[in-house]
Symmetry: C2
Subunit: 171 residues, 2 copies
DNA sequence: GCGGGATATTTCGCATACGAAACTTCTCCC
DNA sequence: GGGAGAAGTTTCGTATGCGAAATATCCCGC
């Protein structure tokens, strides 16, 4: 679905905003789609490739760290790790010092597979960025930063409001 | 999981790129999370709110059109429509002229619910954009546009390469 | 008017994805 | 040092999300 964050509004002035939003959505979904496509060529899924590459780069990490790096919840990554373990790509090992922690490492097979997957293909985004004018790149970073800050503010504001709105429940 | 499209690279210069990518991901996931949170207050899910608002605005549409507007596949939206129908929010009706087509309309209940959901909460992104300096907004649009074009080019290039890489399959 | 390809939707199997609850282990405070 | 609470992981239930295959219908050419 990806809940398209924008809903049609008749206002004329918002055309520009809509285009910016579309661009952000496009960039996100496209890079996601590409990872998935790349993964498929190696019999993997998108998140599995992400995990494989992260584990290869970091040489093993806790499940929580892996979750954080993948911007996903622990309960989600547990499942991904399960399937990768089933396929012999990773191993789980209880941490000796803190037995709550599960360390996840690549098996030799997982490592070999990771090395076969070209990184360049995952970097379409980076390549496009490097192709930008240096000044544009600086501006982009600055503006996006500012935009993120504003969104963060709005979020806090909205979240307070939301609690008051939630009167008319349904199903 | 959202397959984070970026993978750690040791290069020093890429810090900036990483930050841009992070910002894009942040903006996307945040607006998605907000829709979800808003939805929850009304006993719905993110995509359901999106569908509800679209159907309210358009006054009923075919499943394919709805899918397109939601940037999702038909098979995905079928499920969403199923659950909304189960909850009495929408109705399916075969199109008389073209009996392959299924028209989806809000029930009175669905319409009432839609009207209760404030649109503003879905527009955190828009509000943040409007708060930007006009020049920044113009620049942002221009640069994102250029970036999208470059990504599109890269995608085409990569996709051709991908077919050659796909030798070493796995699991 | 009929046969074959195109189009719209659903079904099926699988992998994410999340939140809440359950469990284990750790930590800190008294 | 013992218990309360915190932290890390898993389990469970539900909802997306996709692609491939099955179904139903349309449409086009002949």
């Amino acid at each position: 679905m990806p809940d398209a964050p924008e809903v049609p509004r008749p206002d004329a002035d918002d055309e520009d905003d809509a285009r910016i939003v579309e661009a952000v959505i496009y960039l996100y979904t496209e890079s996601r789609r590409l990872t998935k496509e790349l993964a498929r060529a190696f019999g993997l899924t998108g998140p599995q490739v992400t995990a494989l590459k992260l584990l290869d780069a970091m040489g093993g990490m806790s499940l929580s760290d892996l979750s954080a790096r993948m911007s996903a919840r622990n309960s989600t990554v547990t499942g991904i790790a399960d399937r990768m373990e089933r396929d012999g790509l990773v191993e789980r090992q209880r941490d000796e010092n803190d037995r709550r922690v599960v360390r996840i490492r690549l098996t030799p097979r997982g490592r070999a597979l990771s090395r076969q997957i070209p990184v360049e293909s995952m970097e379409v985004f980076g390549a496009a960025l490097r192709a930008l004018d240096p000044k544009d790149r600086r501006d982009l970073r600055r503006i996006l930063r500012r935009l993120s800050d504003r969104v963060e503010e709005e979020v806090k504001k909205t979240e307070r409001h939301l609690e008051q709105v939630a009167e008319g429940d349904a199903p």
